[in-house]
């Protein structure tokens, strides 16, 4: 079982970091343009899909989702989690050094904590060992074809 990451896999984690944070920012900006949605006007959520910021946010989040699934195919959830959070650091640093925005002391402390969190996890194996019957979602064992072996066959 692989524990060390190839350069290509680090690129996938970098894409996870960037697409999630920029996508969320675009969604937030789009929703502020759409306005408040209440229980009586839930249909507005569907109109929101035509907002350019929301469209761009959705495209980036689809890219995030693809990279995230690839990362989860060779790494633990608790290994990938800090990578997604580190995207916030990227956005904060971009806003400081590119947009020249002011970062408060608490935000610098936040950046330090997230960097430490990524450091803790980066030094650990990407995938921890699992017992053969450790998967509670696992169904019956796969049978003949190679594709059948890829199928989770879960019983929910």
């Amino acid at each position: 079982m692989k524990h060390t990451l190839a350069p290509q896999q680090y690129l996938v984690l970098l894409a996870v970091m960037l697409t999630a944070s920029v996508g969320d920012t675009l969604l937030s900006r789009g929703m502020s343009q759409v306005g408040a949605v209440d229980m009586q006007h839930l249909g507005r959520l569907f109109h929101a899909i035509f907002n350019p910021n929301i469209v761009a946010g959705i495209v980036l989040l689809i890219g995030f989702f693809a990279c995230y699934m690839v990362a989860l195919s060779w790494a633990d959830l608790t290994f990938v989690m800090p990578a997604t959070a580190f995207g916030n650091v990227m956005v904060a640093l971009l806003s400081r050094f590119w947009l020249h925005e002011h970062l408060s002391v608490s935000r610098w402390i936040g950046i330090l904590l997230l960097t430490c969190a990524v450091g803790f996890v980066a030094n650990s194996p990407s995938r921890t060992e699992h017992g053969p019957d450790s998967d509670p979602f696992a169904g019956p064992p796969a049978k003949s074809s190679s594709l059948a072996q890829m199928d989770s066959g879960v019983g929910l």
């Binding site: 959520l45 633990d76 916030n88």
Partner: protein, 129 residues
């Protein structure tokens, strides 16, 4: 803030976090079962990799949770200040994921990973405050 609107805000945040945790754990379980997508793509092409992912029921259930999470998040962002919603959802999701990964995925969440989850919560909270 009025008690009713505060209750609504925190229940929306809790719902978004719960859906995210359920979705991520189901997708992680599915992807673990499917195996390394890069290897599958090399062996069976992109179509084979997509077929392997889409034939997993855990993945479909997880994707449903994430889609529902998306609309719940849009609703929450339209009702709750981003400065409260973003750190709240992120903190609940990261801690919840660590517990769920330990409980359901049987990941070896050692002291270092617990510490990382706590640092992520505190860091995201400070960053988005």
């Amino acid at each position: 803030m009025h008690i009713a609107s505060r209750l609504l805000a925190w229940s929306s945040i809790g719902l978004v976090a719960a859906l995210a945790i359920a979705g991520e754990v189901l997708i992680a379980a599915a992807m673990r079962k499917v195996g390394d997508l890069d290897e599958i793509r090399a062996r069976a092409g992109l179509g084979g990799a997509i077929r392997a992912v889409l034939s997993s029921r855990a993945f479909l259930a997880g994707a449903f949770c994430m889609a529902f999470n998306f609309f719940a998040m849009l609703y929450t962002l339209s009702r709750v200040d981003l400065s409260l919603a973003a750190p709240g959802i992120a903190s609940f999701t990261y801690i919840g994921n660590a517990f769920a990964a330990k409980l359901f995925l049987k990941e070896n969440v050692d002291r270092r990973r617990w510490l990382a989850a706590l640092f992520v919560c505190a860091g995201v909270f400070l960053l988005l405050k």
